[in-house]
Symmetry: C2
Subunit: 349 residues, 2 copies
């Protein structure tokens, strides 16, 4: 689902790179396309058409580019492109959003952080994706003259348990440290979250667990990002913290993500949005989407070597000095989206 804006440009990068992976390792990938977000509203007045959902359910994995743009900003809320994104997450049960953040050595120039802070960062934000304020009811205006408004932060015990378990499992195969982020000094939902993390902790004695308030986490993520391994948090905190953490890498254009169901089915999308300001100008950074393809190979198909061939190609291309304009710095070679895709394809080959 290319979606809107730069989504359409970067999805091409993922498919091209997968074709190259297929050639090199002897696999064949079959691609089918469907609309979501603004493109789907334009076509069928529905940000998530039934056919799109059906096609996703029949697929082995799903790519999503990005949704949204000013064209659809004044539509009523149930008809906005973001509805499509939220609906597909919910409909497919994609509760676990994995957002790895890796400090690429060759991108240290592009980060607003000092090199000694950003270098060698390797953390993973595990964001709960189908609960919290994003889906809680009521979410409405109230009173005769609509003089008040509420949104609801809602979780069931089960929803918290499964995301916390997922995070522990990931910590086990990584550096065995889990930071759980909440606002337990204010929110009842955070107190329940913290209790559940403590319960599960006894099942994973090898994993070191710490609790951190979300305000403190927003500081530590940029002052001591190397202290983190796996970070688990609820939906909105995860949204904010992962965008913030993207700055470690120098650009939101570098961050891939995987969204998984309980059965391990996955949707893969860049953390960045549709970037309407640069859409159509061959300027978007396709690396977040291409790295999302690598995550797909790992999580959906267990093709580790193939996934690494992509990650290595991205590394090499960065080391060779190629940059899209979001990352440019003195001495680098700035290329457009298509050229960047081609260079990465060549390196995979």
């Amino acid at each position: 689902m290319p979606g809107d804006g730069v989504g359409r440009e970067v999805v091409k990068g993922a498919t091209a790179v997968l074709e190259a992976v297929g050639q090199r390792f002897g696999h064949e990938f079959e691609f089918e396309y469907a609309n979501i977000g603004g493109a789907a509203i334009d076509e069928s007045n529905n940000p998530l058409p039934n056919e799109t959902l059906k096609l996703c359910k029949q697929s082995d994995a799903v790519f999503l580019g990005a949704v949204g743009g000013p064209k659809w900003d004044s539509l009523p809320s149930h008809m906005r492109p973001e509805r499509g994104l939220l609906a597909i997450r919910k409909e497919l049960g994609l509760f676990a959003n994995l957002r790895p953040v890796i400090g690429f050595h060759s991108l240290l120039h592009s980060s607003p952080l000092k090199p000694e802070i950003a270098e060698n960062v390797n953390l993973m934000i595990v964001r709960e994706l189908t609960g919290g304020l994003y889906f809680g009811k009521p979410s409405e205006r109230r009173g005769e003259n609509q003089e008040s408004v509420v949104d609801t932060l809602q979780y069931t015990r089960k929803e918290i348990e499964r995301i916390v378990e997922k995070a522990f499992e990931l910590a086990l195969i990584r550096n065995k440290k889990l930071t759980s982020v909440d606002k337990a000094n204010v929110l009842e939902s955070s107190r329940m979250w913290r209790e559940i993390v403590n319960e599960k902790a006894s099942l994973y004695p090898q994993v070191e667990v710490e609790h951190m308030y979300v305000d403190a986490a927003a500081m530590k993520l940029i002052s001591r990002p190397k202290d983190f391994d796996v970070v688990v948090t609820e939906n909105l905190f995860g949204d904010i913290l992962s965008d913030e953490a993207s700055m470690i890498t120098g650009s939101l254009g570098m961050l891939p993500s995987a969204s998984l169901t309980e059965d391990g089915f996955g949707l893969y999308e860049p953390v960045h949005g549709s970037a309407p300001d640069i859409a159509g100008f061959n300027k978007a950074n396709p690396m977040a989407m291409i790295l999302s393809a690598a995550l797909m190979l790992k999580y959906s198909f267990n093709l580790r070597e193939e996934a690494e061939s992509i990650e290595q190609a991205v590394q090499e291309v960065l080391n060779a000095g190629y940059r899209t304009s979001d990352l440019q710095s003195v001495g680098s070679t700035v290329v457009g989206t298509e050229q960047m895709i081609n260079i990465i394809v060549q390196h995979v080959e």
Copy 2:
């Protein structure tokens, strides 16, 4: 109200510095003390005793150090130190929390951000302080076996209007740019917030207004902090973003805050917490509290010159190389809390 932990140490700094200001400019400050938070729980089983509240109401302005600590962490939620803080904000009607963030030249070494990013930053976060998820009801466990939990993000139109107006007024006397931060692509409360900002904007044609999603703001605050002048946002977003922004200055120990009522009555507190890990060791940075005293002189007493004498003293002391341990860097002179207070007092004198 010194409160708990380092709160007790830093409040001494504010009173000492005000005594010096009094001597130099010919004012007399009268101080009265009261308990809040953990100290109040210990004394009277109530994180905000009635006498404390009464004393605050009789005062011309209020200082608060910080509340909380591990000693009280296992108490039930209505008996935790943070309750005292939230209750006093609510009881006094302190809806407008002003958190100025200034990139001190002499502290560029301490910031995780590159000097060219952090230098000359001068922004003000205006955080709504008595609404949103912090006070919305219901906030409770649900179901026979407490298998779910809700918190409520709640605002009235009036609550949003008054904080937005306050932010416009501040933008008018600053650099005339207002960034309103929300999550209008997901939350109904944010959509109402955005509407109100747009309504008020027509009354302040001199102020340039932009809307930004909270995830994007979390990125921009550290990648392009100089682009901001006044940032207005709801309670929890303001909590997260202001802690994040503190990193621009190198330490949470540098950030003062003023919390104001509709009548202009003010409570002044550092943005940092009670820091139980260093409490009692004469290590805390008193500058956030001392700079909060400067805010009090400005906002509660309209004593501009006096306020500047404090801000200038802090500048001078930093330029002279004195640092508390949160800020230390090569070549600086590390001093304890008390020594730092004395040096600043001398400079004010």
